[in-house]
Every structure is written in structure tokens, then in C-alpha cells.
């Protein structure tokens, strides 16, 4: 065993570390990404686990190496690191170096896969789903009748953060419980299936949104609604193609405004020609002088 007394982490340490994990991206940078955040989360734990100043400095410096992953899913790694640092301190000195390498290998090995999973789950699925739900409710005028405008943003925040904080907390606890085996438990949460299912749920909501955008005409006339929906579908198809070709939404925004302004300035071809435009070509003889006009009441 090591010469130093064995220190194990208690619930208070864990809660403190978990709360600090919300600052993970504070010093996000293009060189080492989340490295400072990881070290900041671990600082109180490392101070407790390592007795000597030199060991603390070494450990903290070790965690300042390059680390980049999804900020929510990082909690799986953070929990596992806490466990492994705790275990390392309990090992005899010669084996501690090996444990250090295992910690580094875990960070390097896990950051890629969990980043891909987190990006797909949160940025590309849960957040769009919550956003889409909120936008659909806005267009349905659901909570605006009595001026309850705060309901929709609040609903958005609740739905999103239940998933966000839930997965962060679960990841942290499971990471600490399983240590370096946490990678094996990731599959059992069924993230891939959840992504697939939620994407389908979002598509169903999108259908509602598309109908709502064109719904105002529905109340007036069926034919006009179908015409509008057909035009809308064509425009949506065009925009989707443009977005697929990596044209940014901002560029498309200005293209849309320009197109709409052109439409507004386009001459109305169905309107009858304005006589004043042709005034110079009217023969002077046709214009009856005022003095020749018949006077009412006189024959």
C-alpha cells in the first residue's frame, strides 16, 4: 500500500464536483478545448485525494492535456476519472504510473465516441425536438389567448433540461460507480434508439407545423389552401436543396427577402393598362375642347 493515508470521496465532494461540471466550457479554446474545465472540476477532489503539493500539481497538470467532447456527455468521463484518481491514490507507488496512463487512455478513448453520441443526441435531436414543439405551439396560438406568453418558453426549458440534467447526473453517478468500465454501460441506455425514435417524433411534429403555416387559408377556401400548400411545398423543396448544398440560412434569408421585394415591385400583368401612360399617343382631335361640350339644360 502507499505510505499516504487512504482518502475516499464522500457525497459532498461528489455534489461539489458535479456542480462545478456546469462550468466545463468556461475557458473553451482552440488549443486544448475543455482541458481547463476538466481540471477545474477535479481541483477540489485532487486537493483532497493527494496529500503532497507536488502530487497535486502533477495530477492537475496531467488533466490540462487536450480534451474535447460533448459538454453533457463529458459527465460519464468525469465520474470515471474521479473514481480512477481515488483508486490510484490507494495503489502502491510503482503501480500508480500505470493507473495514470489508464486515466489518460480512458479520456482519449472515450472523448470521440461520446462526442459523436452527444452531438447527435442533444444538438441534432433533443434540442430540435424541443424547439420544434415550442414553435408549433406558437403557431397554434395555444397559450396566447389569455396572454400567457411565458408558458411556451417555460415548457421548452423544462422538457429540454429534464433530459439534459438527467443524463448529466446519470453519467456522473454511473461514471463514478463503474470507473473505467463505464464505456461498457453506455450501450444499455439505448441512445441510438432514442435518437431514431425522437427524430421520427420530430418529423410528425413538423407535419403539424407545415399545416399550421398554411392553415389561415384553410378556413377561407379549400382550393386556395391546396394551391398555397402546393406552392409552399415547392418552395420548401427548393430551400432544402439549397441548404443541402451548404448554403447558409443567413444567405438564404437575404435571398428570400430579395425575392419577396422583387415580387412586390413586379408589374401586375393582369391589371388593365393605365391610360396616362399612353397619353402622348392619343390624337389631339379626340380631345374635345371645353367650349364645345353641350351645356346641360340647353339643346
Amino acid at each position: 500500500m502507499a505510505d499516504e493515508p487512504i482518502v475516499s470521496l464522500n457525497r459532498k465532494d461528489m455534489i461539489f464536483a458535479f456542480l462545478r461540471s456546469f462550468f466545463l466550457q468556461a475557458a473553451w479554446n482552440f488549443e486544448r478545448y475543455l482541458s481547463y474545465g476538466v481540471a477545474y472540476v477535479l481541483l477540489p477532489v485532487l486537493k483532497k485525494v493527494y496529500a503532497s503539493q507536488e502530487d497535486r500539481s502533477q495530477a492537475l497538470s496531467r488533466h490540462l492535456e487536450y480534451f474535447n467532447t460533448h459538454p453533457y456527455m463529458a459527465s460519464f468521463v468525469l465520474g470515471a476519472i474521479l473514481r480512477m484518481e481515488e483508486e490510484k491514490q490507494q495503489l502502491p507507488k510503482p503501480k500508480q504510473k500505470q493507473k495514470e496512463e489508464e486515466i489518460s487512455a480512458l479520456k482519449v478513448g472515450m472523448m470521440g465516441p461520446i462526442a459523436a453520441m452527444g452531438d447527435n443526441l442533444f444538438w441534432a435531436t433533443i434540442r430540435p425536438y424541443c424547439g420544434l414543439l415550442a414553435v408549433t405551439l406558437v403557431l397554434s396560438s395555444a397559450f396566447q389567448v389569455k396572454g400567457q406568453y411565458w408558458v411556451i418558453p417555460l415548457l421548452f426549458l423544462i422538457v429540454y433540461n429534464v433530459a439534459h440534467v438527467g443524463i448529466r447526473l446519470t453519467g456522473f453517478i454511473q461514471g463514478y460507480r463503474k470507473g473505467d468500465q463505464v464505456v461498457l454501460t453506455l450501450r444499455k441506455y439505448g441512445f441510438q434508439e432514442a435518437i431514431r425514435g425522437l427524430k421520427l417524433a420530430s418529423i410528425v411534429l413538423l407535419g403539424v407545423l407545415i399545416v399550421f403555416v398554411n392553415l389561415s387559408e384553410l378556413e377561407k377556401e379549400m382550393g386556395l389552401f391546396v394551391l398555397k400548400l402546393t406552392f409552399f411545398t415547392a418552395i420548401v423543396g427548393l430551400f432544402t436543396f439549397a441548404l443541402h448544398r451548404k448554403i447558409s440560412p443567413s444567405q438564404l434569408f437575404y435571398a428570400v427577402v430579395l425575392f419577396a421585394l422583387m415580387l412586390a415591385f413586379w408589374p401586375d400583368l393582369s391589371a388593365p393598362p393605365q391610360m396616362e401612360h399612353f397619353a402622348p399617343s392619343i390624337p389631339a382631335a379626340v380631345v374635345v375642347p371645353a367650349e364645345m361640350k353641350p351645356i346641360k339644360g340647353k339643346s
Partner: protein, 260 residues
């Protein structure tokens, strides 16, 4: 002028949520829009603009080293600007489109400042490394708060400058609309509906694949049928869509467990 100062302060604090603190999504347009709108007495406009911005930029994701457009600044400043123009005789849709169009370059500028800060943060990390090796753990921890202060100041300055700049372009709006005899307003009004189409395209581009396109068509046809033949109201249609969506999600999750 005091409300500009308060909105800048509010946006500065909300900007911390974009990446630095928590990421609870308080910074999303659907939240920032109504918040700024409520502050200026037009929560309905804020909500509508927030929803539009949320929809159009739904596919702009912070994946890898990519920093997406600063939507917090875009929604906050554009809603504040739209609220300033609302007292006029022009339709809300036209005012919202104009406000959004004027604010996009400023939001892009804010993103550039974010990129600069992310490069500058490298210096903080090097300092942190030196502090860690020399055993100055208290200074090491304080670096976190210095960075947050730096972000707070950035958020305030960018918001204040943006609000001042858009305030001066309001005269331009009245100039255009007066000279061009209402045609600009008409165009901006049409653009609003087209922007909703752009938003739907953004969602399709993000979520729909060849395999799942059939679900979208089925959804549109079913919802249309329910709205036309059963005269169902908006909330009921959303509820039905939510239930069907959840059933599909649970079905796939169950399928995954079975296979696993």
C-alpha cells in the same frame, strides 16, 4: 436609454449560457425573444420572432470546433429593434423581417468576437498550467471567474453596440418606406411567410432522410384531414402529434432493447 442599458445587461448574462455556464438553453431564441419582448411591452412579438429565428437556424449546430451564429444576440437585438419600430402603421410581419435582416450582420460579428475570445483563452490555459505546476491552486481556480467576467463584458459591449447601431437604422426604415411608397413593406410582408418555409426546410434538412420522408407525408396528410374534416383546433392537433411521436419513439426504443 435606461432600458437599452438593462437589455444589454440581460443579454450579457444570458450570453454566459451559450457555452460557458450550464448550457440550460436559456439563451435560445424561443426564450430570449419573449423575455426581451416582455421587457419592452411586446411579449407576443418577441415570441413570434423567437420562434422564427429558432426555426430558421435550427440546423446550425456547435459540432466539433464550429461556432454557430450567435442566435442569442440575434434574437435579443432584433426583438428590441422590432419593438422600437412597432408603434408605426406598418404590419408586424414587415417590421419583424426588417429588424431581423438588419441584425444578422451584427450577430455574425458577435460570432467573430467569440472566435477571437476562444483563441485568446489559450493564454488563460497556459497561465493555468503555470499556476498548476507552481502550486498556486487558488489562482488556478480564479482563472475560471476571470474568463467568465471577460465573457460577460463581451456580451454587454456587443449588445450595447448592436442596439445602438440598429437604433440608428430605424430612420432608414422610414426613409425606404416613404420613398418607395409601400412596396418595400409589401415585399417584407411576403418575405415573412417565405421565411417560415425556409424554417421548415431547415428542419427537413436536419431531420428527414429518404427512409423517413414517408412519415412526414403521412403526418401532413393526416393532420390536414383532421383539420379539414373534423375541424380540430391547433392544441388538439399538437397533442395528437405528440402522442403519435412518443408512440413511435417508444416503439423504436423497445425494438433496440430487444435487439440489445
Amino acid at each position: 436609454m435606461s432600458h437599452w442599458f438593462l437589455i444589454s445587461t440581460l443579454l450579457a448574462f444570458l450570453s454566459l449560457d451559450v457555452a460557458a455556464v450550464g448550457q440550460f438553453m436559456v439563451c435560445r431564441p424561443i426564450v430570449v425573444g419573449p423575455l426581451v419582448g416582455w421587457f419592452l411591452g411586446h411579449p407576443d412579438i418577441g415570441l413570434e420572432m423567437g420562434a422564427l429565428i429558432e426555426l430558421i437556424w435550427i440546423g446550425d449546430l456547435p459540432v466539433g470546433a464550429h461556432l454557430p451564429m450567435d442566435l442569442m444576440m440575434l434574437s435579443g437585438v432584433s426583438v428590441a429593434f422590432a419593438c422600437e419600430l412597432l408603434g408605426t402603421k406598418y404590419p408586424n410581419e414587415a417590421v419583424m423581417t426588417y429588424a431581423l435582416g438588419m441584425t444578422i450582420p451584427l450577430a455574425a460579428l458577435s460570432t467573430e468576437v467569440d472566435i477571437f475570445i476562444s483563441k485568446f483563452n489559450v493564454r488563460w490555459v497556459h497561465l493555468a498550467q503555470r499556476m498548476a505546476l507552481s502550486g498556486h491552486f487558488r489562482t488556478f481556480a480564479w482563472i475560471n471567474w476571470f474568463v467568465l467576467l471577460e465573457l460577460l463584458i463581451k456580451g454587454f459591449v456587443v449588445a450595447a453596440v448592436s442596439l445602438t447601431l440598429v437604433h440608428f437604422t430605424s430612420g432608414l426604415f422610414f426613409l425606404f418606406t416613404t420613398i418607395l411608397n409601400g412596396k418595400v413593406i409589401e415585399g417584407l410582408y411576403y418575405a415573412h411567410w417565405l421565411l417560415l418555409a425556409l424554417g421548415c426546410s431547415a428542419v427537413i434538412d436536419l431531420l428527414v432522410e429518404k427512409k423517413t420522408a414517408v412519415y412526414l407525408i403521412l403526418s401532413i396528410v393526416t393532420i390536414m384531414g383532421l383539420a379539414i374534416f373534423y375541424h380540430m383546433q391547433g392544441v388538439y392537433l399538437v397533442s395528437i402529434a405528440l402522442c403519435v411521436g412518443f408512440a413511435l419513439a417508444l416503439f423504436y426504443m423497445g425494438k433496440g432493447e430487444k435487439n440489445g
